[in-house]
């Protein structure tokens, strides 16, 4: 069958319902949720066309020459578009949309440029981490850094500092954490803590205003003594170390953060209790679904570029798009996009039912967000009501009351989505390079960049090897065992 470029151009962009049939169906029951998702998709699509794609290669070349280069123009444009406040509750000045809505936007942005999408989206990890502590004051603080900055035209960015030089995978898993070779420690001192050690590969670490730092007070007993601290980049004893030279995703700086007797007051510690293993599981269960969405984005970015190349280039006098071997590859790539997306949508919905998202955008808080007018939500009276000891205790109570099978289910889906999405993303990159031949090897054509960018997705938020084991422990063993035993 001959390829008809005109027919293709007419229907080049898939509609929301074509991309997300499950959500479209669900929208019949929850029309408001569907409207939110569609709006985020449309906004992200416009931003991708107007800002990301025209800048992606330029930004990468700038960073290649100077690793400390930051695409300020993109950050400001995203700020104007309101991206940083997407998932922040209206009470804290955000749009009050769900984590799921943000993920839909991240796929669209990621298909344009994974590095820039990470630059604009990695604060989600910080918000998730603070949310999982149940510390409502801390939540307000980090959320307002973004939203109030956004209103001024430039948000104060956040980073999350977890990885250490000798402990990457170990700090992503509670069981491994017990035996981790940690170098960081927060020593209690009068009026606060002194933080010492180094964190590495911290996304946006060199440009963030505030860092959510995960550190134990006793590194020999990290499971019971790990806390989250809010550390400002101006804190004495804190400095940014080197900014890494990376294979890809260059637009999002990865930096070393150095703590040398860095004093933080007692109030910088989130929550009075050490981070329970559950908090880490809740965070990763949510954010790994987001990485799965970036996997779908990589798959899609590669597919879209390969399709364009096949439409416009020939081999042996024939258009590539008319070659059956190319058609089969493109069909596989389309299938891979659909599979990656289907899985992260499942992970996202699973998280809204069982995971962190139900705490942040579900329940009473979610209902308030949906029903009350913005003026009421932003009023001081409501703020006082929300940011209170009672809310903190309620949130922490909710976290404690979550059934283990719920947390395991959300975690298993998050990890499965991460592994499948990122592997499918890489597969599509391989296929795209094969279709594109020499053009695929040149930076100026933008195809090889996706290959380099996508590789990171298989590594961060726990390597895919670790995540497979997570699927086994939380999906194969625990969640199914408890459910079949009639736990819920």
């Amino acid at each position: 069958m001959k390829f008809d470029p005109d027919a293709f151009a007419a229907g080049a962009e898939q509609s929301f319902a074509q991309m997300y049939p499950v959500l479209a169906a669900l929208g019949q029951h929850r029309p408001r949720m569907l409207a939110d998702y569609e709006r985020v998709l449309a906004d992200a699509r416009r931003f991708r066309r107007e800002h990301l794609e025209p800048s992606a290669l330029r930004v990468e070349l700038e960073v290649r020459r100077n690793p400390e280069y930051v695409a300020e123009d993109i950050i400001c444009a995203a700020s104007t578009a309101g991206f940083f406040g997407t998932m922040i509750p209206k009470t804290f000045g955000g749009a009050g949309l769900s984590f799921g809505a943000m993920i839909v936007g991240l796929e669209e942005l990621g298909a344009g440029c994974l590095g820039l999408s990470n630059l604009l989206g990695v604060h989600g990890l910080a918000i998730a981490t603070v949310s999982a502590t149940g510390d409502i004051e801390g939540m307000e603080k980090v959320c307002r850094l973004l939203t109030e900055g956004e209103r001024r035209g430039r948000p104060n960015l956040l980073s999350t500092a977890i990885t250490e030089p000798t402990a990457g995978t170990d700090v992503e898993d509670v069981d491994l954490l017990r035996k981790a070779r940690l170098v960081c420690e927060a020593t209690p001192v009068r009026g606060g803590y002194k933080l010492n050690g180094r964190k590495v590969f911290i996304s946006n670490g060199s440009i963030a205003h505030t860092h959510v730092v995960i550190m134990p007070t006793d590194k020999k007993n990290p499971v019971e003594t790990t806390f989250a601290f809010l550390v400002e980049s101006t804190a004495p004893g804190f400095r940014v170390g080197r900014v890494e030279r990376k294979l890809g995703q260059k637009a999002c700086p990865a930096a070393e953060l150095v703590f040398e007797d860095c004093f933080v007051p007692e109030t910088a510690r989130l929550n009075s209790k050490a981070l329970p293993g559950r908090a880490i599981e809740l965070v990763l269960g949510a954010t790994r679904g987001g990485v799965g969405a970036w996997g779908a984005a990589a798959a899609r970015g590669a597919y879209e570029r390969a399709l364009l190349h096949a439409r416009t280039h020939k081999v042996s006098g024939r258009w590539l798009i008319d070659e059956q071997w190319v058609q089969i590859k493109l069909a596989n790539m389309w299938k891979n996009v659909a599979l990656a997306r289907a899985l992260y949508v499942e992970a996202m919905l699973s998280n809204e039912l069982f995971g962190l998202s139900q705490l942040v955008s579900g329940g009473a808080m979610g209902a308030l967000q949906q029903r009350l007018p913005r003026a009421v939500l932003e009023s001081q009276a409501l703020r006082k009501l929300v940011v209170s000891r009672r809310t903190r205790e309620a949130l922490q109570g909710q976290i404690a009351a979550m059934e283990e099978w719920e947390v395991d289910t959300a975690s298993a889906w998050g990890s499965a989505s991460k592994v499948a999405g990122t592997d499918l993303g890489m597969e599509n990159c391989h296929l795209a390079l094969e279709i594109c031949g020499t053009a695929g090897l040149r930076h100026d054509r933008g195809i090889e960049k996706i290959y380099r960018d996508a590789k990171l997705l298989q590594i961060y938020e726990g390597t895919n090897q670790l995540n497979r084991l997570e699927v086994f422990h939380r999906g194969v063993l625990r969640a199914t065992a408890r459910r079949s035993g009639g736990a819920a």
Binding site: L61, R178, R181, S316, E434, G437, R442, K455
Partner: protein, 367 residues
């Protein structure tokens, strides 16, 4: 391979390994950041001093020597090896068309020949067009991604005869001729440090002798030169995989996870085992393909499969190092990029696999 050939291979390996250690390792940063950074003075002269570029593809013994040298270089950087390979294939085209004496007579890098090393041999649909004009030929259009073009005195490439678009024409184009311009050095996925550029022809008028062969022979010559180059090309991939495996193994022994050495985790061992398999495939295939023993269908299939596996192995190499693998410091990211680019040497693997099927059918399989 007899005893003498084996000892010659050993000498070439040792010489190339010494050059890699003494010259390429210190130049690593410049090689990684080319074309933003200039290559260190003396690197190219040193490379030419090895004499690998003077080896031919005609004899099996010379191909083995070339493969051994390129493999050693590629353990540190595949880019210089790709420069040599491009030159050697271009020279083989000249030899087969009786045009060796027309190679540039310049000294140093100017004596090099450039070649679109990643294009399908003998195709060149998107290359320049050629038309006859009396005693001259006129070239128009762009030859993309010509390896060595910013340095070389001339390029061997395939143009399309304007009179018959299906017919390739092998051309030796001096890169300083009027109407010929070499673009800026391009940033590529891998093999950074091998200056590569587009060559633009704007009504470039060359003597008719620049056309190396007639329509029928051009494709045959280009494909035959590429056929002879498969072993050395695969040796580049093997060198890269070996470097990746070595780094991954050292890392797995040095680092701990969950209280035990990474190398003691079964999943890590599985990754290493896969890399060992892939290295064995690449290295053995490179050696086999330097010889003439294999039927064409098997040679093409092996070439395509081994190139794919090399790219796969280096992805695992990065994965095994986690975040460290993604950073420049550990050389794994260089291996990943070089191996993926090596997969495109002499054209797409899918088209090589299709050619293998054609050869299989032509060899009378099943009849």
């Amino acid at each position: 391979m007899n005893q003498q050939q084996r000892s010659e291979v050993t000498i070439v390996r040792q010489t190339a390994a010494r050059f890699a250690r003494d010259v390429l390792v210190p130049a690593r940063h410049a090689l990684l950041h080319h074309p933003d950074e200039a290559l260190p003075a003396g690197l190219l002269d040193g490379l030419l001093g090895l004499g690998l570029h003077e080896l031919g593809l005609e004899e099996e013994g010379e191909r083995a020597l070339l493969g051994a040298g390129l493999e050693e270089l590629s353990r540190v950087a595949a880019a210089p090896a790709s420069l040599v390979l491009a030159h050697v294939i271009a020279r083989e085209c000249l030899r087969q068309t009786g045009a060796l004496e027309r190679a540039p007579a310049a000294e140093g890098a100017g004596a090099l020949l450039a070649l679109p090393l990643y294009a399908e041999p003998g195709l060149g649909d998107e290359g320049p067009s050629l038309r006859q004009d009396g005693a001259a030929i006129v070239l128009d259009g762009i030859a993309e991604l010509v390896v060595g073009a910013p340095l070389a005195g001339a390029a061997v490439l395939v143009a399309r005869d304007a009179g018959d678009r299906e017919r390739p024409a092998l051309v030796l184009a001096p890169l300083d001729a009027p109407g010929v311009s070499v673009g800026p050095a391009l940033l590529t996925l891998g093999m950074r440090g091998a200056p590569t550029a587009d060559v633009r022809f704007s009504k470039a008028r060359l003597p008719a002798t620049a056309r190396l062969a007639g329509a029928t022979e051009s494709g045959v010559v280009a494909r035959d030169a590429a056929r002879r180059a498969r072993g050395p090309a695969l040796a580049i991939a093997a060198g890269v995989v070996e470097a990746s495996l070595r780094t991954a193994t050292e890392y797995a022994r040095e680092r701990y996870q969950g209280g035990k050495q990474i190398v003691d985790h079964q999943e890590v061992r599985a990754l290493l085992a896969g890399m060992v398999e892939d290295l064995a495939l690449c290295a053995e295939a490179a050696e086999l393909l330097c010889g003439d023993a294999l039927a064409e269908s098997r040679a093409l299939a092996l070439f395509a499969r081994a190139k794919r596996r090399a790219a796969h192995a280096t992805c695992d190499g990065v994965q095994l190092l986690g975040g460290n693998g993604y950073m420049e410091d550990y050389d794994q990211e260089r291996c990943l990029r070089d191996a993926k680019q090596a997969q495109a040497l002499l054209g797409r693997t899918d088209l090589a696999a299709q050619a293998a099927t054609e050869a299989w059918l032509a060899e009378g399989a099943g009849s």
